[in-house]
Amino acid sequence: MASTSQHLLLSPAELAYLHSTLSLTPPLRPDGRTATQFRPLTAETGILPGTNGSARVCFADGTEAVVGVKAEVEKTANTSITSEQDQASRQPKQRRRKQQAKDQEAAKAEEEEDEAEDGDAERRSEDEWLELSVEIPGYRDDDSGTVFLSTMLSEALLADGELTKKLWINRRFHWKLYLDIILISPPLSYPLPLLSLTTHLALLSTRLPRLKSEGDEDPMFDDDWASSQFIYSRASRPSTNTSRPPITLLVMAVGENVIFDPSKEELAVADCALAVSVGESEVESEAETDDAAMDVDAAAAATAEVKARTTLRLLSVRTIDPPSRLTAPGVPNAVNAAAWGQQGGGGGSSAAPVAAKETTGLRAAETGSVEGVWKAPRGGSKIAIISTIVEKILQKGGVAEEVLEGLDGVELA
């Protein structure tokens, strides 16, 4: 985290002030936004003519990202899988699921999965069909921060398997999607939401050539680009939203307050910061959404809410180490040598009691909290806060829905 956003030069006193204003109800944000308000952004798609889909998003703070999507036809490995091998290949997934769910439930899920596959002409998909690379200027691509970012982004895209399912051509071939995510400005704030929104838009605008062949033949495509098809079909939009690519939102908490799209200054005082990935799927039955919730690889609990037409579902929640943890603590006046005259009583007292007072003051600064004195937050996120965050995101008319609606308005080129 620290490495991917530049260090802030805020004094402990400034941090303490910021923290206290953000803790107010309602919070007072430095740029005057409400807690759920996003920074203004500009977005456009189709900026790279040679790609299958592309998008550019600029935040008002000057950060800017470009995402290009390229697709290639690839032969699916071991095309002639017998059902037994098939079972074997699915083992790891199931095992993981079993760890989370009770045995019966896993068995039930398995049954259902089998049914679904039979019905869907064995449309299976693999995570390798999506390759994602993130480039942050000034950082190596094996920098831990960059790797973490790309892991989070791909986790969100792959979690529900919807995207890779769309890449299925037939039992022998699939599309391989290369996502190139580039931050083209210096990382002024934590770029995760920017990159995620740009990726979302790029995928929305991604089109694949129309398939002409049938069945398991070697695929042949229509050479007319105008007849290519969006992978996220917009046939019936916007009245009935079909599925859209997942997005990852950055949320932080200060005290009891939940703040969306934090700026870098705000992040510097976060008690905790979370990256929450939300996906959307077509209308499904209650039972299945419950199962989907089981899939979540999240550190926290998960809920799912069924909406009238589309389902927003939580795909993952990741804790992000906020820079606030690395800030230097403020020094209470009690132990501040510079504030000597104000705190100490008699001028001519001996040195020993002063020393004792200093040690107690230091301890107080490290352990207890002193009003108006900055202290780096410690400990994990509180469960209650996390559930508040998730609720705010997923609820009807909540933040996720609003963001998706907003991105939906971007014209696709």
Partner: protein, 1049 residues
């Protein structure tokens, strides 16, 4: 980041990752839209935002520069557009391709009326504007009396390319780039023909690059199909031409007219006030309209009738992707479709997966394939496997009285007659011999590539109605192609009466599922049947021999001195550089009588050490034909000189072939010499190659040379040299025979002509003298020596000739026949074994039997082919027939292009000259080899066909009774070979007697026993007496040598 530009970063990423064409990197910085562009985009963005969006997420206009290029708003972008399409590569990659189009305004209209374009037209590096093409006073018609330019659309060209090639009409044609590109996608052969037309001066065809001219470029609209867009582009271009020419100050401004067959397009043109006319209507207004109308392809007329018919004769083809998948996975097989010459309902296809060709039996399994097509087949289940036919089935006989007009009405694709013909056949598949054993059969499921060409034939008189013979009604008639393997072609014509009895040229347009026969159209008439001119031209067309006179560009490559060219007298002349002066050697040439293009000459002289110096001197054609000039291109296309009985179609212009290159006697000539030192036992002691100057002392014919050698009184050095050569050649031949060289045979005859009228008067089999073999041996020796040398220096690119060992199965049948009939054993495990066992195949008192076996054995062989050394491994180089491990052609550069290439390579190998890139590039050489292999075979076939025709002509009005041998037996006839004339003939049982004699065919013993109306038995290899007469079949109008069995001997 500071140091690198944005585009650099982005392009590096995308290109390296996906290997796809990302134009991002190529973006010009000045094209990045100015602020206005960005604002405009964002305005549209905002207007699309839903109302409830404002509360939390705001997309607002910032001062950021947009990266996106917007055609609408960027004032600089009016001359910039792009084309987007999907490209699928062979390896299975699917790429989105974006091509930028930079529109310009200086592309000229090329009309001589226009002075504006002339001023602004782009100039070449030399400052010259290419001359304008379209006439300032184009021809007018009734509809356009002020003159007109034509703009055909793609369909017009597809349907009526033959019309555009007419010399009487269709001048001043504007070919739009849109149309040209579309045509290339639809039909490459037609595209090439069109390109040829645009190069011709007199036709005045101009290619207008409308897609690059700002005013005529059209953007594809939302939801507009590519076809509609292209049609619109054509209309726009026509409109522009009319507007543009309207601005000229000329008194009579020609109309630019769109030619189309698309009703929708014409209607739109009418609405937009663009002059347009239906192709048919236009042609109707021309002179000679009836003949021209026949040249419009059939297909488009059928559109109307299609709707009412839902009945299909043939199964549908698989989709291309399905076929490709099947071929890749081995479920289907791809190969070239060949029709049996004896049975038009039986075809075969050789595929790599099976040792023997797959058999395709019956009309619905053949499924509209024509001989030569590349097709995909599916193997039928084993219970449907059949033996190859033992019956002659000729299309003419079976489908004789079909009515061309009623073709569609028939219920089933397989007529009752055809079914009966095939039925009898199936009964006889129980035999146990190799011939009778069921073989895998297959059915055609799709055609990858049609290899349709133009076919020569004649109209089936029985298909022409009486009314049409007089009237001018359009009707369908059948054309019977000369090539028996090609099915009847249905053509619609108004001139059926006139075409009767003529050789005519047609093309096949299509073969739809609902049509029993392919549909074609008339191209031109070659003249009356059996006139020499028509028949010769028919032959040349049928074998695709390029017979037009050499174009001027080729003749320009000849030496300026013409026939006065001489070897420079001074040895300081550059022509003498690195040439050896061999004028002192006693060189002579030995060729057939009357040979004008003398390729080779020889000499021999004893050396002091008891060895002999032997030289083979070959005409130095490569001195005159420089690589990659027009003459070289023409020669590489022609590939070989074609010898017909009365005509020679040269590969090189006469001046070179018969004079400057030809090693004529008594004059000095440039040559390329191979000089050996041979020991008295004809072993090579040393060999060297050099360019030289020689002076041949004498040009002998084989007979003259033989006489001179045999005449003991002649003791001059020249004759003694020839005796030495003869002595050595016999030793060389013995060595070759010991190594296993085959002496094969084909029936060769010579037609003697009356010198005045050049009418054939007699046919003679060619005689072989010792001197023939003398020349042959030294040519072989030279070829082998040269092959070794060029392979040593250019192991990748050397042009060589190989003769593959025939697959063992090819001989199975012949071996069995010999065993059953004569108790002879044919061994074919090596060429040596084969040669020996062929020698043993003699029948007492019948010298011709051996030749017959050799002829039949030759037909089991593979054909020799040219190839590029790098394409095969060394063991594959072997020449089976000559039993040589390496071989090439070097000794006839005047008449074979391969030899010319070998000359150039050898010259480079000995350091005489640098290797020209064209001779070095392997890809090009492979293409050359492929072409000359085809040309070589065609030339042979054309030569044979010519002989056959003249043999027939020499029999005209005569009846000859000759000996013949039975070569092949069917259940309802047999094939005989007449050695005297070198022709084969088919004797059908039904012709022997009336009613047709009953027959029992014993496939195991190869005997056909006849009873009933004609009692005899005919067996394989039997000598029979036949009567040959020249008969004209009244039904088909075809003349041919007809044979009748007189008696079995």
């Amino acid at each position: 980041m500071q140091g690198r530009s944005l585009s650099e970063v982005a392009s590096n990423r995308f290109v390296s990752k996906a290997e796809l064409n990302v134009n991002f990197g190529g973006m010009r910085t000045d094209q990045c839209g100015p602020l206005t562009a960005a604002t405009a985009i964002l305005d549209t963005l905002n207007s699309k935002l839903p109302k409830n969006f404002n509360s939390s997420t705001v997309i607002e206009t910032s001062t950021m520069t947009s990266l996106k290029r917007s055609v609408n708003t960027d004032p600089l972008s009016s001359n910039l557009s792009s084309k987007v399409y999907v490209r699928s590569t062979k390896s299975g990659k699917v790429q989105k391709i974006v091509r930028e189009v930079y529109l310009r305004q200086d592309i000229p209209c090329s009309s001589r009326l226009c002075s504006n374009c002339l001023a602004s037209a782009p100039r070449s590096a030399a400052g010259v504007v290419s001359p304008f093409v379209l006439s300032d006073r184009p021809a007018g018609t009734k509809a356009y009396p002020q003159g007109h330019y034509l703009v055909p659309d793609t369909n017009a060209l597809l349907n009526a390319m033959d019309l555009f090639e007419q010399g009487s009409a269709f001048f001043d044609v504007i070919i739009l780039q849109t149309v040209l590109e579309e045509l290339r996608n639809r039909s490459l052969p037609l595209y090439n023909r069109l390109i040829g037309l645009t190069k011709s001066q007199e036709k005045r065809f101009y290619v207008f690059f409308n897609e690059f001219r700002l005013e005529t470029y059209v953007n594809r609209e939302q939801d507009e199909s590519i076809n509609d867009r292209n049609d619109r582009a054509v209309r726009r271009a026509v409109k522009w031409y009319n507007d543009h020419l309207g601005q000229t100050k000329s008194k009579s401004i020609p109309v630019t007219v769109m030619l189309s067959d698309d009703r929708g397009n014409l209607e739109k043109a009418k609405q937009e006030n663009v002059p347009g006319i239906r192709l048919r209507d236009y042609v109707s207004g021309l002179k000679d309209a009836e003949r021209l109308l026949d040249m419009i392809a059939e297909s488009q007329e059928r559109v109307t009738s299609k709707e009412k018919k839902t009945e299909f004769f043939y199964p549908e083809y698989f989709s291309l992707s399905k076929m490709m998948t099947g071929v890749k996975s081995g479920m289907l097989h791809q190969g070239m479709f060949n029709v049996s010459p004896y049975n038009y309902l039986e075809g075969s296809i050789k595929v790599p997966a099976f040792p023997k060709p797959l058999i395709i039996l019956g009309r619905d399994n053949i499924n509209r394939s024509v001989d030569g097509d590349v097709v995909v087949v599916e193997v039928l289940p084993q219970d449907q496997w059949k033996a190859p036919s033992t019956k002659i089935i000729e299309e003419e006989a079976i489908t004789k009285n079909e009515n061309a007009d009623n073709d569609e009405g028939a219920v089933d694709v397989v007529t009752e007659k055809e079914r009966r013909a095939l039925q009898e056949e199936v009964k006889k598949t129980q035999g146990q011999t190799t011939e009778g054993r069921p073989q895998p059969t297959a059915k055609v499921v799709g055609v990858i590539k049609r290899n349709w060409r133009q076919y020569v034939g004649h109209v089936d008189p029985s298909s022409v109605s009486q009314t049409a013979r007089q009237g001018r009604k359009q009707e369908s008639v059948f054309l019977i192609p000369m090539d028996k393997k090609i099915p009847k072609i249905r053509i619609r014509t108004r001139q059926a009466g006139e075409l009767l009895g003529n050789r005519i040229l047609v093309t096949i347009d299509s073969w739809d599922r609902e049509s029993r026969h392919p549909v074609g159209h008339f191209v031109r008439s070659l003249g009356e049947l059996e006139t020499k001119a028509a028949e010769t031209e028919a032959l040349l067309l049928e074998y695709d021999v390029q017979y037009r006179p050499f174009p001027k560009t080729v003749l320009d490559c000849l030496p300026k001195e013409g026939h006065d060219w001489k070897v420079p007298a001074s040895t300081d002349d550059p022509g003498w550089k690195d040439r050896e002066d061999l004028r002192g050697l006693l060189i002579c040439s030995i060729d057939p009588v009357g040979c004008q293009d003398i390729d080779d000459a020889l000499h021999a002289k004893p050396l002091p050490n008891g060895n002999y110096e032997v030289g083979v001197h070959i005409a130095d054609v490569s001195h005159f034909v420089k690589p990659a000039n027009a003459m070289d291109m023409e020669a590489s296309i022609r590939g070989t000189t074609v010898y017909l009985v009365d005509k020679r179609i040269d590969m090189l212009p006469m001046l070179l072939g018969t004079d400057l290159c030809s090693l004529k006697p008594y004059v000095e000539r440039y040559a390329f010499s191979v000089l050996w030192e041979l020991s008295p036992s004809a072993d090579i002691v040393d060999v060297r190659f050099t360019k030289s100057v020689i002076k041949s002392r004498e040009a002998f014919s084989y007979e003259q040379a033989q006489l001179r050698i045999d005449d003991a009184s002649q003791q001059d050095d020249l004759t003694n040299g020839m005796r030495t050569l003869l002595m050595l050649s016999k030793k060389l031949k013995q060595k070759r025979m010991d190594a296993g060289a085959l002496s094969l045979s084909s029936p060769e005859v010579k037609v003697q002509m009356e010198s005045e009228t050049s009418d054939p008067i007699d046919v003679k089999t060619k005689e072989l003298l010792d001197t023939n073999s003398l020349v042959e041996e030294f040519m072989l020796l030279a070829n082998i020596s040269v092959a070794r040398k060029i392979y040593e220096v250019f192991p990748q690119t050397a042009i060589l000739r190989r003769h593959g060992a025939p697959p063992k199965t090819n001989f199975d049948e012949l071996a069995n026949q010999l065993k059953v009939k004569r108790g002879l054993e044919l061994r074919f495990d090596s060429s040596k074994a084969l040669a020996d066992s062929l020698d043993a195949c003699v029948a007492e008192g019948e010298p011709f039997f051996n030749t017959l076996v050799r002829i039949m054995a030759t037909r089991c062989m593979m054909s020799a082919e040219y190839f590029c050394a790098g394409t095969q491994s060394f063991p594959e180089f072997r020449h089976y027939g000559l039993a040589s491990e390496i071989y090439t052609h070097f000794t006839s550069p005047i008449r074979r292009y391969a030899d010319l290439v070998a000359h150039r390579q050898l010259a480079a190998a000995i350091g005489y000259e640098a290797m020209h890139p064209a001779v070095r590039a392997r890809g090009r050489l492979e293409a050359v080899c492929k072409n000359i292999n085809v040309r070589h075979r065609n030339a042979q076939l054309a030569g044979r066909a010519s002989v056959a025709y003249y043999v027939g002509q020499s029999l005209k009005g005569r009846v000859a009774e000759e000996d013949a041998f039975v070569m092949r037996i069917f259940s309802n006839g047999f094939v005989v070979l007449v050695p005297r004339f070198g022709i084969e003939g088919l004797i059908r049982l039904r012709d022997l007697a009336e009613p047709e004699p009953e027959s029992v065919f014993d496939a195991e013993e190869y005997v056909l026993r006849l009873s009933g109306s004609y009692e005899t038995s005919v067996e394989l290899f039997q000598k029979v007496r036949v009567r040959i007469r020249d008969v004209k079949d009244e039904a088909t109008g075809k003349r041919g040598a007809k044979m009748e069995l007189v008696r079995a001997v």
